[in-house]
Symmetry: C2
Subunit: 298 residues, 2 copies
C-alpha cells in the first residue's frame, strides 16, 4: 500500500524536481515556429516521438510522402534509425525535406519531451497555413489548464480526482472511433509522466471485453476502464464492462471545436492526471533523466 | 494458484467442449469462396471482426473506398452499426458493394469466429486474383499446424511451451514495424481463445518500456514480453526489457514467404498458444456461447 499523499499540499510537489508542472502550464505557444515559407503540396511522416502528430496530420495532410512541395519528417525520440532507414529519401525525392527532432542536422530542433506531441503538431499547423485550427487547440488547452492546474483544489479539479481513481489500478483507455492514435497517446503519456502501465483494447473491442477480462478476475491488479467521450458504443461498452472491471471512469467531452482540439484536450487532461499520479506514487513526473540513460545505452 | 494441467494428457482437452481444436486444425481452406467475378478497381473497408483483414488488405488494395469496380465491406462481429453508419454507401457509390459477415442481407455469409481473420483475408485474396499469395499463407499455416497441434508433445511443441510460459503472467506483444495490426490481432486472439488479458505498447515503445514498466514492480501480475521476429529494434528492446519484465519470450520467424504469410503464421501460432492457455486455466477455448450472450444483449 502506497502512503496516501495530499495533492493539495505543497510538500507533495517536491517530487517534481525538474519542474514539469511549469512545462505543462506553459505548453500552449511553446515549441519551434516556422522560419520560412514551405511550399505545398505537403507530406508528413513520423517516427519515434513524432508518431502521433504525424497520424493526426492525416486530418488535413492526406499524404505520407510527396515528390513536390515539402516533405516534413518528424523524427524525435528513439526512432532507432527508422527515419533514416525508411526509404524516405527515395519516397520524397523532388520535395524539400524538413526534419524536426533532436538528432544532429535536423532543420528544426525540437527537444525530446513527453509534451512534444503538441509541439510537433503546432509546427505542422503553422507551416501548412492552419492557424485557425491551432487557435481552436490552444483555446481548448487553456480551458483545460484553468481547471486542472495544481492551484485548483481537489474538490474542483477533475485531473486530481482522476489520479486518485487510477492509483494502484491499471487503466484501460476506451476511445471512440474518429480519434486516430488517441488511446495509444494516452497510454504513452501515462507511462512517461505517470510512470504507470495502462493498456488499450484492440479494434473489435466488445469481443475483447467479454472474453479477455474473464480470467483477469483471478489475477493481479484491478482495472479502471477510462471511457472517453459520448457515443452509442460507449453505452454498450459501459454495460459490458460494469461487471468486469474494478471501476468505470467517464471522461466528459472537452469544450473544444473539432477533432484535433478535442483529441489534444483529452490528451492534455490525461497528462495532468498522470502528473498527479506520479506525485501520489512519490516519483518524479519528469522523464528526462531516465531517457538520458536510454540515450547513453543506444 | 491454478492447478497445473498436463497438455499431453487427453483429459485436459475435455475443456474444449465445442471442439475448437478441430476448427483450428481445419482452418486452411475454410470459409466462403467467391461465387462470381468481381471487377477491379477494388476498395476494402473493415468493421468489427473484419478490421484486421481490411488492414492487411492495404498491402495489395490501397483504397478503402472505390467509386467503380467492387467495394468489399467486411462487417462481421459487433461493429455496432459501424458499417451501416460510416457514410459507406455515399463513399462507394458507383461500385458494386459486396458485404461479408453474419448480419442479415450480407452478400457473402461469414460466421462469427475467433478464426475469421483468415477467412476474410482468404475471400479477399481469391476475389481479387491473389491466389499465389493465398498459397504462401496456406503453406505457412500448414507448417505451423504440423508443429503445434495437440498430438505433438510438449517437448517438440512451441505453442504448448509458450502456453506454460504465459500462465499467470500478462503478455506484452512487441512486434516489429511492417506488420500492420499484428500486435492487436495477437491481443484479440489471446482474449477470445485464451480468455486472457494482454497488452501492446504504443508507438515509440522504448520510452514506454523505460517509464511505464517502473511502477509496475510494486503492483500486480508479472509481465511476459513476447518479442516477435528479428530486427535491430528487438535487440535494443530486449536489453531494456530484461530488467523490467518477469520473462522474455522470443518468437522465431515462421518459415513463410512475404509479410502476409508471416503475419498470419505468427497469429496462428499465438492462437494455438492461446488455445493451450485456456486448457491450462481449465476454461472453454471456444467463445461462441459468451458472444451469443453479448448478441442477445446488444
Amino acid at each position: 500500500m502506497v502512503k496516501m499523499r495530499d495533492l493539495d499540499s505543497q510538500e507533495t510537489y517536491l517530487a517534481d524536481r525538474m519542474g514539469l508542472a511549469f512545462e505543462m502550464r506553459d505548453l500552449v505557444g511553446s515549441g519551434p515556429v516556422p522560419q520560412a515559407r514551405y511550399a505545398a503540396p505537403y507530406g508528413v511522416v513520423g517516427f519515434g516521438e513524432g508518431w502521433w502528430a504525424a497520424q493526426l496530420a492525416r486530418d488535413w495532410v492526406p499524404a505520407e510522402f510527396t515528390h513536390a512541395g515539402t516533405q516534413f519528417v518528424l523524427e524525435g525520440g528513439y526512432d532507432l534509425g527508422g527515419a533514416a532507414g525508411a526509404g524516405l529519401y527515395a519516397a520524397s525525392s523532388g520535395a524539400e525535406i524538413v526534419r524536426l527532432g533532436w538528432a544532429e542536422n535536423t532543420e528544426v530542433e525540437l527537444l525530446a519531451s513527453a509534451l512534444s506531441p503538441y509541439r510537433y503538431l503546432r509546427f505542422l499547423l503553422l507551416a501548412t497555413g492552419q492557424r485557425d485550427e491551432l487557435s481552436r487547440i490552444d483555446q481548448a488547452l487553456l480551458l483545460e489548464r484553468d481547471r486542472l492546474r495544481p492551484e485548483v483544489s481537489l474538490d474542483k479539479n477533475p485531473a486530481k480526482f482522476l489520479a486518485y481513481s487510477l492509483l494502484e489500478r491499471t487503466p484501460m483507455f476506451v476511445v471512440p472511433e474518429g480519434y486516430p492514435g488517441l488511446a495509444a497517446a494516452m497510454q504513452q503519456t501515462l507511462a512517461r509522466v505517470g510512470k504507470s502501465l495502462s493498456f488499450t483494447p484492440p479494434p473489435s473491442a466488445l469481443e475483447f471485453f467479454v472474453t479477455g477480462l474473464e480470467a483477469r478476475h483471478e489475477q493481479g491488479d484491478p482495472i479502471a476502464a477510462v471511457l472517453v467521450g459520448e457515443d452509442e458504443r460507449k453505452k454498450i461498452a459501459q454495460q459490458i464492462l460494469e461487471s468486469r472491471v474494478d471501476t468505470l471512469i467517464e471522461l466528459p467531452e472537452p469544450e473544444a471545436e473539432g477533432m484535433l482540439a478535442k483529441a489534444l484536450a483529452y490528451w492534455y487532461r490525461i497528462t495532468w492526471a498522470a502528473y498527479y499520479l506520479a506525485l501520489l506514487y512519490g516519483v518524479e513526473p519528469g522523464d528526462w533523466e531516465v531517457l538520458d540513460h536510454l540515450r547513453q545505452a543506444t
